[in-house]
């Protein structure tokens, strides 16, 4: 079990480093779908996102602190939501083979 906790701790650390630090070095080029949409000429059919004016829209834009906050907030939100939903999913099982 301690090895499980170790794996969990390493996983949390790696996840935070990716979201907060490595994210600073991510490419800002269009992704595959945007690239195709531009070349094939249907990129203009995209509407502005309804939440485009929210503070963390597009992961905080080009600002380094905003991107770091976005990474942290996103990791906490996905972990928290995941914990909640997966807790509701399991049907009171405490052992692997019940």
């Amino acid at each position: 079990m301690s090895k499980g906790i170790a794996l969990f701790g390493v996983g949390v650390l790696i996840t935070l480093v990716i979201a907060i630090v490595v994210s600073q070095f991510a490419s800002t080029q269009p992704d595959g779908l945007e690239y195709v949409a531009e070349r094939e000429g249907f990129i203009e059919t995209a509407d502005d996102h309804a939440l485009a004016e929210s503070p963390l829209a597009d992961y905080g834009g080009d600002s380094t602190p905003n991107l770091m906050v976005s990474g942290l907030v996103g990791v906490l939100a996905t972990f928290g939501l995941g914990y909640l939903v997966f807790s509701l999913t399991k049907t009171g099982k405490t052992t692997a083979r019940g």
Partner: protein, 226 residues
């Protein structure tokens, strides 16, 4: 590969939304068969990891980048239906907090990345793994191959939706098909490599926590009679 609002018309978007909700209900029941107390924090961590990894766009072609989808990675770690839930939660957080992926396209994106990417990709993994003799040592490499294949598979979901409900009339679906297929095979190479490395690392440290491996310590849902 996040579809924004506007690419796909309301009919197909709504149909995908209903499919995504139905899939979520099914996924909750199926994942409930095997998720234990011990696996809950791990499954939540997989969701957070997929979110983090999706922030990292890597260069693929001049003027084009790609990022990990993570569907096959999640499905092999926590099972295909928990993987579907992981992808759904990541896409919901991205759309609601970061304006990444259209609100009206959440269903489309869940169908493509959760259903096609995670569940479909897992079926490819399982078929390849069994053909290859089901040896634990082969888990990472078949995970990598299935992850590569899952990118064009998920992208084909987009092409189908675009063909059925695209909002542009004067466009060649064939041309979009080949462009989407080609670019996503290239991104899939990155997907396969990252999935191979991450699954390999987890297999070396705790192979009993890898759902897609015969060494998994819990119960797999396909082994259940219900």
């Amino acid at each position: 590969m996040h579809i924004p609002d506007g690419f796909i018309g309301p009919g197909i978007s709504a149909a995908a939304g209903l499919t995504a909700v139905g899939g979520f209900g099914l996924a909750l029941r199926r994942a409930g068969h095997y998720l234990t107390d011990r696996l809950v924090p791990m499954a939540a961590l997989v969701a957070a990891f997929v979110f983090a990894a999706q922030m990292i766009n890597f260069p693929v072609l001049p003027g084009m980048s790609g990022h990990l989808l993570g569907g096959v990675l999640a499905a092999i770690l926590v099972g295909p239906w928990a993987g579907y839930i992981v992808m759904s939660l990541v896409l919901i957080v991205q759309a609601l907090l970061f304006a990444d992926g259209g609100l009206s396209a959440i269903g489309l994106n869940i169908v493509n990345m959760g259903l096609m990417g995670a569940v479909g990709g897992y079926l490819i993994y399982r078929a390849l793994f069994r053909l290859g003799g089901s040896r634990p040592s082969t888990v990472p490499r078949f995970a990598g191959v299935a992850a590569l294949a899952s990118l064009p598979l998920a992208a084909m979901g987009f092409v189908l939706e675009f063909a059925a409900g695209g909002t542009v009339e004067s466009i060649s679906i064939g041309s979009v098909f080949w462009a989407v297929l080609g670019t996503h095979i290239l991104i899939g190479l990155g997907e396969g490599l990252i999935t191979y490395l991450v699954i390999g690392a987890v297999m070396r440290s705790r192979s009993d926590l890898v759902y897609g491996s015969p060494t998994f310590g819990g119960l797999r849902s396909e082994e259940l009679v219900s």
